[in-house]
Amino acid sequence: MRTTIRPQARRASAAVAVGLLAAGLLSACGGAETGADAGSSEPDPEAAADLDAALEEGGELTYWTWTPSGEDQAAAFMEQYPNVTVEVVNAGTATDEYTKLQNAIAAGSGAPDVAQIEYYALQQFAISDSLVDLNTLGLGSLEDQYTASTWAQVSVEGGLYGLPQDSGPLVLMYNQDLFDEHGIEVPTTWDEYVAAAETLHEADPSTYITNDAGDPGFVQPLIWQAGGHPYTVDGTTVSIDLQDEGSQRWADMWNQMLEPGLLADIPTWSDDWWKALGNDTLATIVTGAWMPGILEGSVPEGAGKWRVAPIPSYDGDPTTAENGGSSQAVIKQSENPELAAAFVRWLNSSEESVDVFLESGGFPSTTAHLNDPEFLEAAPEYFGGQKINEVLVEASENVSTDWQYLPFQVYANSVFPDTVGQAYTQKSDLNEGLVAWQDNLVSYGSSQGFTVEQ
């Protein structure tokens, strides 16, 4: 189960490149319908004063995170607010941490004050009433500082359950050498992408357009990008339709590569995958904007070969989706929620903290950092001097905000291999796999007391 998406699995060494940069994002451009319109709205000066008072008074906080810069950020925080002590605990990455968090919440004690939670899992914790609604502490007024898509991810059912740490708009990364060798143009539509897959594999059977061994953390953003909206959550009523227009659109397109064996059967993040990225086996990867730094750090053999492009579209519409990304949330068990919220506010909106985060290679969620000309101008050698951040930032402006995850997404991802994964193994119709997945989710949701509609 550890193979679910791990955008945070970045190597600390890696991301230096991304760290230096930052560019302009128009948070204004997307109306965040999905819940972002929730109660946040008006700044509450009184609440802000409460948080400042809490910082002044001080206290002790426990913070669970696996972000590489977590320790350094906490140290910078304590320097600035000497009355506060923050104990940083790495309680595992992603699912491992959620398991412990879930257990601590169920047990009624032992949970941290602040925890890192990926966007896809945030809803699960919010719905189970485990997190503090930060609107009640006045953090709703920070909305303007973040991209619309990340803000939509932390807004659940009218509440604000975390502040965005980073973002990962989907982009296409491609191996320019391999494309040149086979005379392939950078695909701008999925049709061109499929054609490139055929050309490439025919010319050299040991090369593939990309790898996909079945990964829910990858498939769901692709469905999102195709305009799918398979999950609709309204309180404890959940609709699941993995055969909606967007889901089928993606599955039909992906079938054209899966069924004839044009996709390498290499699990993402495996050792083989890193090798395949460095030895010209894979021509492209569709991935989040946090990837360039990781690639540079982990695949030195790829230096000078890789470039970044917008994700191929279905019909010219540049819409993309969010792949991974984390938020920091205040757990209800916290004995000092004001102080915890003040820490979260500092962590994900203060200059001092975000700078530390960027230095370790993160891709920001804050518009100010994305707008920074220095960030936009950066042209890393590894990417042949391409101004990659211009592409990444443009992608972050094109993320559709129309997406919801399930309130039991961690479970859903864990049974993806049992269902959709079987279509991957047999190289058969992905739609059938999606139907099997849906059946499983419907029965799980019902058994957990949700009202499930199909």
């Binding site: 193979t3 059967d265 699990p267 007391g449």
Partner: protein, 308 residues
């Protein structure tokens, strides 16, 4: 003083004698350190699991007593029985192979016809000393059909005949790892049983003209029978508990090793991915009962043979 005085039995002494059983408790008190740990680490979790299995805790709606519903669910759960069938097949095929190899190795080392027996003994035992997770990671690399050793062999053969991660070969691949890990361990058990045979038995056999196979059949195997029964029981339990190997290989073959590949993996994903602690406890209890029953039958059969 010629009269015989009967020994005086004081009332006090009588009571003391009646109380003698009390003195036995002194011995029992020595078991406290063990008993305390045993109760806390074994009995209590077992009872707690039983207790858990009678409830259902939903994400929406909270905790409710459901009686034996979880058991009914488990008996009708195809995912659970598919996993059970898989480990049962594993048991039927892998355990005999492993134990025969271990027995052959033990007999060979015990035969006194081998040079450097100490060397062979330690080399065969060595895989057991490698932590299971490390061993499986290593095998995962060997099995790798993209860039691992398997890929190199396939290249050399000019085919892709070797596919250890293919659905039809996965159980064999896991069986190979488990055999590699545990042959040495079982060999040591068998070898130590063979070592306890008094040498005068061999001398008698020699005088009677017994050779080779006859000695093995008439002396060595009967003497090792107890050890074989024990090793078989351990292996049965190990097979039903199969978890480490498939779990570590899972990231390499996500779609083949599903979340319910073995009953233990199923119990694990039920509780840690699905928060179905109650149902997970039910699955664990059912597996525990089945394992105990089969191990008991094996023990009965094994000892009956011994009596003959």
């Amino acid at each position: 003083m010629t009269t015989l005085t009967p020994p005086r039995v004081t009332p006090a002494r009588v009571t003391q004698e009646i109380r003698t059983p009390k003195r036995r408790w002194t011995g029992w008190q020595f078991t406290w350190p063990f008993a305390a740990v045993f109760v806390v680490a074994f009995i209590a979790p077992l009872l707690y699991a039983l207790w858990l299995s009678l409830f259902q805790n939903q994400l929406v709606g909270g905790n409710a007593f459901v009686g034996l519903d979880n058991y009914v669910l488990a008996f009708n759960d195809p995912a659970f029985w598919a996993g059970f069938g898989r480990v049962f097949l594993f048991l039927l095929v892998q355990v005999p192979i492993m134990l025969l190899l271990a027995l052959a190795a033990a007999l060979a080392i015990d035969s006194a016809r081998l040079y450097a027996t100490g060397f062979f003994r330690i080399v065969i035992f060595l895989p057991y000393a490698v932590p299971a997770v490390v061993a499986v990671l290593m095998w995962g690399f060997i099995y790798g059909d993209n860039f691992g050793l398997t890929a190199s062999i396939n290249d050399w053969l000019g085919s892709d005949v070797l596919a250890p991660f293919a659905p039809q070969w996965m159980l064999v691949s896991i069986g190979n790892i488990v055999t590699w890990e545990f042959v040495g361990y079982n060999m040591v058990i068998f070898y130590s049983a063979l070592k306890t045979i008094p040498t005068d038995l061999y001398e008698a056999a020699e005088i009677d003209g017994a050779r080779g196979w006859q000695v093995i059949k008439a002396i060595k195997l009967p003497a090792a029978r107890g050890a074989i029964v024990i090793a078989t029981i351990f292996s049965i339990i190990g097979s039903f508990q199969l978890f480490n190997e498939p779990n570590v290989l899972q990231p390499l073959a996500n779609n083949v090793i599903t979340s319910s590949y073995t009953p233990n993996m199923y119990a694990y994903s039920l509780s840690f991915a699905g928060q179905q602690y109650n149902y997970s406890a039910t699955v664990a209890i059912i597996m525990g009962v089945i394992t105990a029953a089969i191990a008991y039958v094996v023990q009965l059969r094994g000892s009956r043979k011994e009596d003959r």
